[in-house]
């Protein structure tokens, strides 16, 4: 019954990207929808995990997050469209996606006119810079790490409280212009600029750790009341209008977020839809067996569901520096032996997860290329596995599998025992070692303490191959001191070079293709054993209109739905 999801995951799990134009599902209730007249009503959001810190510096979001992007406008944001279109960034506070120069090592943005904070003071480039600087302060941890290694010599920066003179590599020549100087080419910068760290913060109003109590809004709503992980009430920000923001519709007059609920309860309430629950949605409670039993049976419920996919893969991470996993034969054998069906069931059934044989999730934006070099079929291929092991001269192998001690992140005992059972069929004995979910990443992320075999999950912070492959396979990203994600500890200069090359590309389509190719190439080495990719099925209340899963994150976008 552990309900509390660690922050890190709050980011990754909440996100979801759309595959099959979720909009289709919502047409029924969507018919009468018109952005111009949708205003009014109160929207209720029922969630499991609440927002721990409503501070743009501490939020770890992708595409600006769902609730946060109602408060914080960023330089760019996600394109809030269903399907393919939704996987692209779009200008938000900025006039465009940014102008790269110096081979994508310098990015320049101009703020659009008329944008202002909730108190009416206009937003300047200095506010944006200050917001980013805050995210470097140790007092405000938790935000996305990228800027620290992307920005030129900013890694050691201690934040504006200790070092008021700020980051040199961010320049604000005038109140409307902001220039970022990077240490190496980053074609994905427009994607990163969607993170809440890019939201403006008025220095005058900054109260450090207290700021989250009432963050100054630049979006369509402002905070009326906020209790961390319990409740958040948003009301209209009168200094915001559709004139200065075309992406957000902001239909409801009032949004009430309740957190800390049990997912079973949430879905049950959405199904029942009594009272305010009729105008309710959830952004993190994927439907459970309760509802799945009723879905697809032509019941009224079928009209009240969005289906999306967030790019995330659950996989087995081999530590190729540790025996016996330094032996590719062993890795291949296990890849044959795996029984993905039981893993899928352990994670909630084929409706909410899909079996994966590739590391990249099956999404065009990521440049996914299908491959299955070690076919295990539905229920695994223990015979083949035994055979491979025999060839390698290995019999009755005993290995340890590290996993989290609870299932909230989908890498817990349930999955682990499923795998244990599958490998048993191939004559491999698996000893389960549960590690407290709170410290799991610490243990696995330090090569010194990293176990030979560990369950892991990886979600992209934006729909592009880069953030999906780089931390996992870039040899220069092996961080020996901890916080390492290249669990294979794979370092190949060729691959590293290719990564740099792709990073320099500023055309997403071109980049995607090459990411896919890279993944397919790496797949042959069986450095990781892909298990499943996430599918997201969310219910919403009877009176909710224009509900569709946005392409970036796979959930319905609070900024666009209506309850009128």
């Amino acid at each position: 019954m552990r309900r509390l999801v660690p922050i890190v995951l709050a980011a990754t799990v909440l996100l979801a990207g759309c595959q099959d134009g979720g909009g289709g599902d919502s047409t029924a209730s969507n018919a009468a929808f018109d952005p111009a007249t949708c205003q009014g009503g109160t929207l209720t959001v029922l969630n499991q995990g609440g927002i721990t810190h409503l501070d743009p510096a501490r939020l770890y979001t992708s595409g600006g997050g769902n609730v946060p992007s109602l408060l914080f406008r960023t330089l760019t944001t996600r394109n809030r469209q269903p399907g393919e279109a939704g996987t692209k960034p779009a200008p938000d506070l900025a006039t465009d996606l940014g102008t790269p120069s110096d081979g994508a090592k310098t990015w320049t943005y101009h703020l659009r006119d008329g944008v202002a904070f909730e108190d009416g003071t206009p937003i300047t480039s200095a506010d944006v810079k200050y917001g980013i600087e805050r995210s470097f302060a140790p007092e405000l941890p938790g935000g996305a790490p990228y800027l620290r290694d992307w920005l030129k010599d900013a890694a050691g920066y201690q934040g504006p409280y200790k070092q008021p003179d700020g980051i040199k590599s961010i320049e604000t020549p005038d109140a409307k212009t902001i220039v970022f100087k990077l240490s190496k080419p980053e074609g994905d910068f427009p994607f990163l600029a969607t993170a809440t760290q890019f939201a403006p913060v008025p220095k005058a109003k900054d109260t450090g750790t207290e700021y989250e109590k009432h963050p100054i809004s630049s979006g369509p709503y402002r905070v009326e009341s906020y209790e961390p992980k319990k409740s958040l009430v948003l009301v209209r920000n009168t200094h915001w209008s559709t004139k200065i923001d075309e992406l957000r519709y902001a239909c409801p007059d009032r949004i009430e977020v309740t957190s800390g609920l049990d997912s079973a309860v949430i879905n049950q309430r959405l199904v029942t839809g009594a009272g305010p629950d009729a105008a309710a949605v959830t952004t993190d409670a994927v439907v459970g067996p309760e509802q799945l039993a009723q879905l697809g049976t032509g019941s009224e419920l079928d009209k009240r569901v969005t289906r999306g996919e967030f790019p995330s893969t659950t996989y087995l991470a081999f530590n190729t520096k540790k025996a016996p996993f330094d032996n590719p034969k062993v890795r291949e054998a296990l890849s044959y032996a795996i029984n993905r069906t039981s893993v899928v069931n352990a994670l909630g059934g084929s409706a909410v997860v899909g079996a994966s044989t590739t590391f990249l999730p099956p999404q065009k934006a990521l440049g996914h290329q299908a491959y299955d070099y070690f076919p295990a079929g539905e229920g695994g291929n223990p015979e083949k596995a035994k055979q491979v092991l025999a060839e390698a001269g290995l019999s009755n192998l005993t290995i340890e599998l590290a996993h989290q001690n609870d299932d909230s992140e989908g890498v817990g005992p349930k999955v682990a025992s499923a795998i244990q059972e599958a490998f048993k069929q191939a004559g491999v004995t698996v000893k389960l070692t549960a590690i407290d979910s709170a410290t799991y990443r610490d243990v696995t992320g330090k090569p010194a303490t990293q176990p030979g075999l560990a369950l892991a999950t990886w979600g992209a912070d934006w729909p592009s191959g880069g953030p999906f492959l780089i931390p996992i396979f870039d040899g220069r990203q092996i961080i020996t001191a901890g916080g390492n994600f290249n669990l294979a500890q794979y370092n190949d200069s060729e691959v590293n070079a290719e990564i740099d090359a792709i990073n320099a590309l500023t055309d997403p389509a071109e980049a995607a293709a090459r990411w896919g190719a890279l993944d397919a190439k790496l797949g042959k080495l069986a450095l990781v054993l892909p298990l499943t990719h996430e599918k997201d099925v969310y219910l919403y209340g009877k009176n909710v209109k224009n509900a569709y899963a946005d392409g970036w994150r796979g959930q319905l976008d609070l900024a666009r739905i209506s309850v009128k």
């Binding site: 019954m1 552990r2 309900r3 509390l4 660690p6 922050i7 890190v8 980011a11 721990t52 810190h53 770890y60 302060a137 140790p138 007092e139 405000l140 941890p141 938790g142 935000g143 996305a144 790490p145 990228y146 620290r148 890694a155 050691g156 201690q158 409280y161 900054d206 109260t207 450090g208 750790t209 207290e210 700021y211 989250e212 209790e227 961390p228 992980k229 319990k230 309740t258 800390g260 609920l261 049990d262 309860v265 049950q268 309430r269 029942t272 009594a274 609870d406 407290d436 979910s437 709170a438 410290t439 990443r441 610490d442 931390p471 961080i479 001191a481 901890g482 916080g483 994600f485």
Partner: protein, 329 residues
């Protein structure tokens, strides 16, 4: 009297001190490091060090514990970005996870757990004592049996089992009641009660029976005592004897029990709260434990300990108040 109070309070303080020390020790022997959690994804060692320092985890354990004690008695200051924030006594520190003052968190949750406990207690007392008296005064035989049966059953059903079944029945199948969500009494007494009804029942089931049995036993024992015989010998009518003498003796043991039980419920409400998703102290704890949110865990442990201590004291006072023979010493 004063002397008694002083010694009583001193004792309580000692117990709580020991409790907090134990919890502190335990959590520092634990292998897990809260800082990493707070630091988040892609956290570099340097940054981790900074975060740890900012959370005050860099100092040795005893120093931290000492600061903690200081906070409790005198309050303490925390660095918070540009300015420092002062945390007035009794200061239990700030949650690692949400940065809220622990005292605030607790105060925020206590009403829930308290409502839970009080409601359940009232319910079980009303029914239990009623039934107990009736069966004790030998009114109905069948009631006697029923009570007996219920007592046994009461022991045998874990709260979460009752809760689960109640949920199934009333919320899922019959849909008579909403899925419990805590509504403060001040907002709407009706909704408050409506939402807490199921938790109350599931808690009361166990106690009602126990109380009934206790009452009956007490009544029967008192009725067998000499002074009742005297009363009869002096022609005092049965009803009057029952009302003025037997009742008093019969309910004595209950008084102590009730006070202690309220504490017991409040401290063991973890299950009920998790079961029904009520944002009470118990739920706070479960979350905090998963997050190695030390200040909160210590806070909850101390609070629950305090409640128990207070309850015991209350029980003694009540007893002394009702029974002239008892002196507090």
């Amino acid at each position: 009297m004063i002397g008694y109070l002083i010694r009583r309070i001193a004792g309580a303080a000692l117990v709580l001190l020991a409790l907090s020390a134990i919890v502190y020790a335990l959590f520092y022997l634990a292998p897990s490091d809260p800082a990493i959690l707070t630091c988040g994804k892609g956290c570099t060692p340097e940054r981790l060090a900074d975060v740890r320092a900012a959370m005050g985890l860099a100092d040795p354990v005893w120093t931290q514990y000492w600061h903690f004690l200081e906070g409790v008695f005198t309050g303490r200051d925390y660095p918070a970005g540009p300015d420092v924030r002062h945390c007035p006594a009794p200061c239990l520190g700030y949650s690692f996870e949400t940065d809220q003052p622990v005292t605030a968190l607790l105060l925020d949750r206590i009403p829930v757990s308290f409502s839970l406990a009080i409601g359940a207690e009232v319910l079980s007392l009303a029914i239990g004592v009623g039934a107990g008296l009736l069966s004790g005064a030998r009114r109905f035989r069948w009631l006697d049996r029923l009570v007996n049966g219920l007592v046994l059953a009461g022991y045998a059903v874990p709260v979460f089992l009752v809760g689960l079944l109640l949920l199934l029945l009333f919320c899922v199948h019959l849909r008579w009641l909403p899925f419990p969500t805590y509504v403060p009494f001040t907002t709407s007494p009706l909704l408050w009660a409506q939402n807490l009804l199921l938790p109350w029942i599931s808690l009361a089931v166990i106690q009602t029976a126990a109380y009934a049995r206790l009452t009956r036993a007490g009544l029967q024992e008192t009725l067998a005592e000499d002074h009742i015989r005297t009363a009869r010998a002096y022609g005092i009518p049965e009803r009057r004897i029952l009302r003025r003498r037997a009742l008093r003796g019969a309910l004595l043991p209950l008084i102590t029990l009730t006070a202690v039980d309220v504490a017991a419920i409040m401290t063991s409400a973890v299950l009920t709260e998790t079961m029904f998703g009520l944002p009470g102290v118990g739920q706070l704890l479960v979350g905090a434990v998963n997050q190695i949110d030390l200040p909160v865990v210590v806070g909850v442990t101390l609070l629950t300990g305090l409640i128990i201590v207070i309850a015991n004291a209350a029980a003694d006072f009540l007893y002394a108040a009702v029974d002239p023979r008892v002196q507090l010493r």
